[in-house]
């Protein structure tokens, strides 16, 4: 039998990253993700890797840009206010097609906000927090096991498509302990060679430039269409979600990450009461699993979207759903005491089930 460990969510991310061959980590402390830099500072030297505590999130993401441009497997992690500061760097990385993994263990905002559970950075993550219009791959784990597994996947997707990938967690997931089976990482055989990376010319005829500046007539538009084609490929190939109970559902619940855990418990309570409730849980928030919503709402038009914010993913659900679908929302926008318990969601299910 495979060994099972009892591990904290934040540490699962760090473990998954190292297992996937991440050897460079640059970060800056912020609650509730500090276990990640602490773990990395302890473990990286033991595997011949590099840990740098940068002077700011701005510096950290630009160290990530450099290490990624140099061909390294590199990660950084932060929470809301730090991710805001990383936005410039993320835009440059998207523009210069530098792979890396960026972890956001969300906390509530805006501003300094609070330090507990929130999903208020959905817009920031999936719409592109920085300038110029771009996307990251955004993965939303909902368990410690997924924090581990999806971090490994994030490195592969990021390398395959030359696009930064974000793990969008939250304080609940980051701070809780759960059983983890530390699966070993196997690198996909078809990952493209990083022949574009800066390594020093070393016998290459042409020197490599990793850049996002395109000044020539039409060059930038061509580059942006090239990036766009990549987003389209992601939509075709890399959508991931969990869907249960849709066969007989009369109400579909939808939620991602930590909120989906609470929703799952509430759905189990509802099923016990004979209520036919299904679930769609997006695992990739970008690319968004639009198709499953369109299909499912053709059969079951009533959807309740539950988020730990005042309504962000619900906009994408509305855009994806079958025309005429009835999309409702229940949100708790953050701070201590704002985390709904399963009974509260169960009440919401009963309410929306009836009317």
């Amino acid at each position: 039998m495979k060994k099972r460990l009892f591990v904290k969510g934040n540490e699962a991310i760090a473990m998954g990253a190292i297992e996937a061959g991440c050897r460079y980590y640059f970060g800056y402390p912020i609650t509730p993700q500090n276990d990640i830099p602490e773990y990395m500072s302890r473990e990286m030297p033991l595997v011949g890797g590099t840990f740098v505590q940068a002077e700011s999130e701005v510096a950290a993401i630009n160290m990530v840009l450099g290490a990624g441009a140099a061909g390294g497997r590199v990660m950084t992690s932060s929470s809301g206010p730090g991710i805001s500061l990383k936005a410039e760097g993320m835009s440059f990385m998207a523009g210069s097609e530098v792979p890396a993994v960026i972890v956001n263990i969300q906390r509530p905002g805006p501003g300094l906000g609070g330090i507990d559970v929130s999903q208020a950075d959905y817009f920031q993550a999936v719409k592109g927090a920085g300038h110029g219009g771009y996307h990251l791959i955004v993965l939303a784990p909902h368990s410690v096991q997924e924090l581990y597994d999806l971090t490994m996947l994030a490195f592969d997707l990021s390398d395959r498509y030359r696009i930064p990938a974000m793990i969008l967690g939250d304080a609940m997931l980051g701070q809780m302990k759960e059983a983890l089976v530390p699966n070993s990482y196997r690198a996909p055989e078809d990952l493209p060679a990083k022949d574009w990376a800066v390594t020093g010319k070393r016998g290459r005829i042409r020197s490599n430039a990793v850049k996002s500046l395109y000044l020539g007539d039409g060059e930038l538009e061509a580059h942006n269409w090239h990036l766009h084609a990549k987003y389209e490929r992601l939509k075709e190939r890399e959508i991931r979600f969990e869907a249960t109970g849709l066969e007989d559902a009369e109400l579909i619940l939808t939620a991602f990450g930590g909120a989906a855990r609470i929703v799952k418990t509430a759905i189990a309570m509802a099923r016990r009461e004979g209520l036919k409730v299904g679930l769609i849980r997006p695992i990739t928030l970008y690319p968004f699993p639009a198709e499953i919503y369109r299909k499912a709402t053709a059969e079951t038009p009533k959807v309740l979207c539950v988020e730990l914010n005042n309504g962000q993913m619900v906009e994408d659900v509305r855009l994806s759903a079958h025309p005429g679908a009835d999309i409702r929302f229940y949100g708790r926008p953050g701070g201590t005491g704002s985390l709904p318990n399963p009974e509260e969601i169960f009440e919401q299910i009963c309410k929306h089930y009836k009317d």
């Binding site: 640059f26 630009n62 840009l65 500046l213």
Partner: protein, 252 residues
């Protein structure tokens, strides 16, 4: 070829054979050449990675025949840190203007120096923001008229120019810090030697090396190339004295 004909001057191999976009009399071109000569002399073109900054030198990769990463405005020392940690045996340098390094990038340069990051930093100080049209920089001299100090820089309101070579020399992590100029052939040759030394220190793994180069921006100073060149020696050097401010290799 006549065996008596000797090549005495040629394009360094680290520079591509293309015309640059710099204005007439701009010193970026001169400093590019000195950097390329240092790379050639140390024979490290195949392992050098340059980090471009945001400013008039943003098209660095069009001129240098080496691998280049383009950094966001001010962040070149952080990007260089990332590259150097992945390839510790490569020669990694940043090339930055005074707006880039001494304003938006103040934190990044101070901390890269303080960590003793084994990189080389070439800093062109032309007392203004060239690329954006001649606004006031942290290095703008007292009284200097720019587009955002139209009455002349008033130190009571706008603060004092920053002497970066001296500032970085104070940090324990800095291995080398010097200020040079390229306004006369003699000083340009001296500047070339200093830049070579800053690169050589990296090859010898002797720590963070910084060279500030006083240069002219005739376009934004509103001067002819000849007058702008003269200003470097007449005005700039009074406030920004040339010299070596720190050199750990000369300690006994």
């Amino acid at each position: 070829m006549d065996s008596n004909v000797q090549t005495v001057f040629q394009r360094p191999s680290a520079l591509k054979e293309v015309p640059t976009h710099y204005c007439a009399g701009c010193h970026h071109g001169t400093v590019h050449r000195l950097v390329a000569e240092a790379i050639d002399l140390l024979d490290v073109q195949q392992q050098t990675v340059g980090i471009g900054s945001v400013g008039c030198s943003v098209l660095l990769y069009d001129y240098f025949d080496i691998d280049v990463v383009e950094a966001p405005h001010g962040r070149a020392p952080a990007v260089a840190t990332g590259v150097k940690r992945v390839h510790p045996d490569n020669v990694v340098f940043t090339y930055q203007g005074d707006g880039d390094l001494a304003a938006i990038g103040t934190a990044e340069i101070i901390h890269a120096a303080n960590r003793g990051e084994p990189i080389t930093v070439i800093f062109l100080n032309n007392t203004t923001y060239g690329m954006t049209g001649g606004q006031m920089a942290p290095t703008t001299l007292p009284g200097q008229v720019t587009t955002t100090s139209p009455y002349g820089r008033d130190v009571a309101k706008e603060g004092h120019p920053i002497r970066v070579a001296e500032l970085l020399a104070m940090l324990d992590g800095t291995g080398f810090s010097a200020r040079v100029a390229v306004d006369t052939p003699k000083r340009a040759i001296e500047a070339g030697r200093t830049i070579l030394k800053a690169f050589e220190m990296q090859v010898k793994k002797q720590g963070f090396a910084f060279v500030e180069v006083l240069g002219a921006c005739p376009t934004n100073w509103g001067m002819s190339p000849i007058d702008a060149n003269a200003r470097v020696g007449n005005e700039m050097m009074d406030f920004f004295p040339l010299g070596v401010y720190k050199d750990i290799t000369t300690k006994g």
